[in-house]
């Protein structure tokens, strides 16, 4: 936006009652203020998510109160809680069934890394092994303020997405997949244990 019009001129016009905007800005403004989450909770983080939606924390202030019971109408998947290996294929399938553009918030220690169950045998060590995560919230469970903060971060991210150009948003690129392979139940673990196209664990550098 700022490439087209001088920011001072824009501010001056705004004071005179003329609002100058662009398609991209209008589009992102509409999207970021009506993020509809998919209505599902997995574990105790879901209780905090419910508290966030209730009157005290009131996610409606950010336009996110419309929890949709169908992935066809949802923009955001809040992975709120422990993702067991039994549940992981369903989560990935639900993500696949959501319409583009879609975003994921991994809420809580379990959703981002397996949390206290990381050493166990039946909990997925982070949902980012199968689907791309936009915002991670640490905490066990994170407080509603933390979820609101993640929500605002996501709004900031949506606001910065470009509609055109080479660095336009990923979901607008035809080559960027909208679906990710659903893991299968193997003999001991999910097959594959992680999607190498999505999962990029940080490399440990030792001095």
């Amino acid at each position: 936006m700022s490439e087209q019009i001088d920011e001072r001129l824009r501010s001056e016009l705004q004071h005179q009652g003329v609002w100058v905007t662009s398609m991209q800005e209008l589009y992102n403004w509409g999207r970021k203020n009506s993020i509809w989450p998919l209505q599902f909770g997995l574990a105790c983080c879901a209780i905090e998510m419910i508290a966030t939606a209730a009157s005290r924390y009131d996610i409606a202030r950010f336009g996110g109160e419309v929890f949709r019971p169908s992935p066809r109408q949802a923009d955001l998947m809040i992975v709120a809680g422990t993702v067991t290996k039994k549940m992981a294929p369903q989560i990935v399938r639900l993500y696949n069934q959501m319409a583009d553009p879609k975003y994921v918030i991994a809420m809580g220690a379990c959703a981002i890394s397996g949390g206290p169950f990381k050493q166990g045998y039946n909990v997925l060590k982070g949902i980012d092994r199968y689907i791309p995560v936009d915002v991670y919230i640490p905490g066990c469970p994170p407080r509603p303020e933390a979820l609101l903060h993640a929500f605002m971060e996501l709004q900031r991210k949506i606001d910065e997405q470009k509609l055109t150009g080479t660095n336009k948003a990923q979901f607008l690129k035809p080559e960027q997949p909208s679906e990710f392979p659903v893991p299968k139940f193997g003999k001991h673990d999910l097959e594959p244990p992680a999607n190498p196209d999505v999962f990029h664990p940080p490399e440990i550098e030792r001095a």
Partner: protein, 124 residues
């Protein structure tokens, strides 16, 4: 001059058509110029809470269930007649009493017939 009274209906139909069609057209234009469609086997599959669906959605109930439906209907209608009958029982003339007994007899006859045919046996 007063406008034709049907003019308002025409305007109403026009607004009723424009209201859904304009957003749909905008969405179609948006898809055409910005958003590449990305259908896929998972995305277009039936939504069943993330679980893979089994079989067809258009299942049909077996025709033998109509017997249960009919027997249920008999007693349903019977209850509708019996309640006012019971309320007005003390003040009824003999003719009305006999009439309702005939009605009950017909229903009991139907029940005996259904019983004799084995309709009350739950079979799959």
């Amino acid at each position: 001059m007063t406008p034709n009274p049907y003019l308002f209906i025409v305007i109403f139909i026009g607004v009723a058509l424009a209201f859904p069609l304009i957003p749909l057209a905008l969405a179609w234009l948006w898809r055409r110029f910005f958003q590449p469609p990305k259908p896929g086997p998972d995305k277009t599959s039936i939504y069943e809470c993330g679980v893979e669906s089994i079989g067809e959605a258009q299942i049909q109930f077996h025709s033998q269930y109509y017997l249960y439906a009919i027997i249920f209907l008999i007693f349903d209608v019977e209850a509708v007649f019996l309640v006012p009958f019971a309320v007005a029982f003390t003040g009824l003339p003999v003719g009305a009493f006999i009439a309702i007994l005939i009605f009950l007899l017909l229903l009991v006859e139907g029940l005996v017939w259904a019983w004799g045919k084995g309709c009350l046996q739950w079979e799959r």
